[in-house]
Point group: C2
Chain length 340, copies 2
């Protein structure tokens, strides 16, 4: 069976270790699993229309007003909803990045300007909104707080809105932009999928200026978030121990994997503030490596569909220690095989 899930990971037969999705390799949190089983009977009721009770707990957790929050059927619903609600004419996207912002804009006949450099942001005068992903997918790059503040100030001066996708912020040393929502016209996208290991459940949330959330709420479709997803979000808010342990583990393993990858001289490994690495291959290309790996039960992501990148770039997730040893060894063998 062909993989036909675009970039939602490997789908097909066989026992494949999937490095193309950036999901907690320990799988679904045991406490969440227990919680879902306990709550199964509640599936016989409709979920709350907009997840209001969960929103209350979320806003308390974030120390913001409930009117600054919105919950989505995955982060994806919120990207499309934001785009449709805001009636933009022209937006800019800091590239290379996640491709759904552009797809959502194009579907809504919005002009898209692609920026390749931080400095270009300050010259984009005609846009209504700037899209950034922080830390960025697939580069793993985090904006400094000074950079972020400059971006927000510049946008405010020009009456522009800023959309920040913080799906990977927990894996970084960076600070969320949530404290800026009062002062700036801002929407922040957050995910619990990656850390909780449940992309199949579909849940994400947004933090934003009240006026933006209000516009989104006005056209939001009712009952879009399933009951188990709402429950998962509520558990996420109180499961500090799990988050702490997971993130500490990630930090250690990221460092270890970085050094392992760095030691392969055919690779240029980029610093990452997320739970994956972007890598440039100095010889051969990603599609060759992908084929080599897939034949051996490993699935990786080639970055050729990201704007400004090409098939020499790959992205691989951080997985369990012994799995990471396997992929590093495999890459070594791949390069060795080229010389044979």
């Amino acid at each position: 069976m062909e993989n036909h899930n675009k970039h939602g990971g490997y789908i097909g037969d066989g026992n494949i270790i999937d490095y193309s999705v950036n999901i907690n390799p320990f799988g679904i949190s045991p406490r969440l699993k227990e919680n879902i089983i306990k709550k199964l009977n509640s599936l016989d009721s409709y979920p709350e229309i907009n997840g209001d009770s969960t929103k209350e707990k979320l806003s308390e957790y974030l120390s913001i007003d409930k009117e600054n929050t919105i919950i989505g059927n995955g982060a994806t619903e919120l990207i499309y909803l934001f785009i449709r609600a805001m009636n933009f004419k022209e937006i800019a996207i800091l590239e290379p990045t996640f491709t759904e912002y552009e797809r959502a804009a194009v579907l809504n006949q919005i002009k898209v300007v692609k920026l390749l450099d931080y400095d270009e942001i300050f010259k984009a005068d005609s846009i209504d909104c700037l899209f950034i992903c922080n830390p960025n997918n697939p580069t793993g790059k985090l904006l400094s707080e000074i950079e972020l503040e400059s971006i927000l100030k510049n946008a405010k001066q020009k009456d522009q809105i800023v959309f920040i996708d913080e799906s990977f912020i927990e894996f970084s040393d960076g600070r969320t932009a949530k404290d800026y929502i009062e002062e700036y016209n801002l929407f922040i996208l957050r995910s619990i999928t990656k850390i909780y290991g449940v992309p199949g459940l579909r849940v994400g949330f947004g933090i934003g200026s009240k006026e933006i959330i209000k516009k989104m709420d006005r056209i939001k479709e009712p009952w879009s978030i399933n009951s188990l997803a709402l429950d998962a979000l509520e558990l996420y808010l109180i499961d500090e121990d799990y988050k702490k342990k997971t993130l500490e583990w990630y930090k250690r393993e990221k460092r270890r994997m970085y050094l392992l990858l760095k030691s392969i001289e055919e690779l240029e490994v980029f610093d990452s503030e997320a739970n994956f690495f972007m890598i440039k291959m100095n010889i051969s290309d990603g599609n060759e490596l992908k084929k080599y790996c897939l034949d051996r039960g490993i699935y990786i992501r080639v970055c050729e569909d990201f704007y400004s990148l090409d098939k020499s770039y790959i992205r691989i997730a951080i997985r369990l220690e012994h799995e990471n040893d396997i992929i590093v060894e495999l890459i070594r063998e791949f390069f060795k095989s080229l010389n044979e």
Copy 2:
């Protein structure tokens, strides 16, 4: 806590028997529950982007082409998606009916004409699409096959599209309109939520002419249906025994409950081809009865927000035998209390 779920049923404290939602009173199917528990670990993968594998099985089950099907995050996603995809200028809705068609149209600046009578359908020449619910919510009325065919023929002549919500068709003696999708420009909405007892899971599907499905697919948001919902739909397709038993039980209990309600002289009970009854109260009103019932642990639906209905109309679902005995008795007592 106030009930703030609009018409997604009762939400609040206390042990309430909810007659306001039309969901299988036996709760979640035991086999489905088992299946969900078995599949929990698969939540660590993204669902298929548009549920392609499930769509294949669905189309096989329905004996139609895969290109005639679409799966949604609940039927709700498909209502909104249909409206957004089709670019209508003006639609007509056969009222009184489910209120989301109108909300979706209004949000998209589409002019809405409200029809109150079958005959009016044939005079609506300026519309692009007709919305009907069959059997209808909240009236429980089913169109005859002759009526349905006349509607479809009329629409074809006038180059109009017909949207048929068949969420309750399985509870009726009527036939689905799915065999008309080749000949007419048609979209049919289906639900598995009611019979499977899982409105919390969010899953529905659509059957339609290929051109319509294509337009919907073009703007459909990716990964909108969660993995457990896709699994549930697949199970639904093979779970013939459960469906048969459930529907047979419903038929018997519907007949029994109808006669019980009929015997209360202050009520006018409408024939129903769904799993609920619309009832007109000849004295007092629905809000009075609702309050009386809620004080005694029973929640009913007053129909005053349905176009052309008022607070003298209520809708109550068919629930378990002993529960139905309770509500019938309660209604009797309510009318008795008025005379005291």
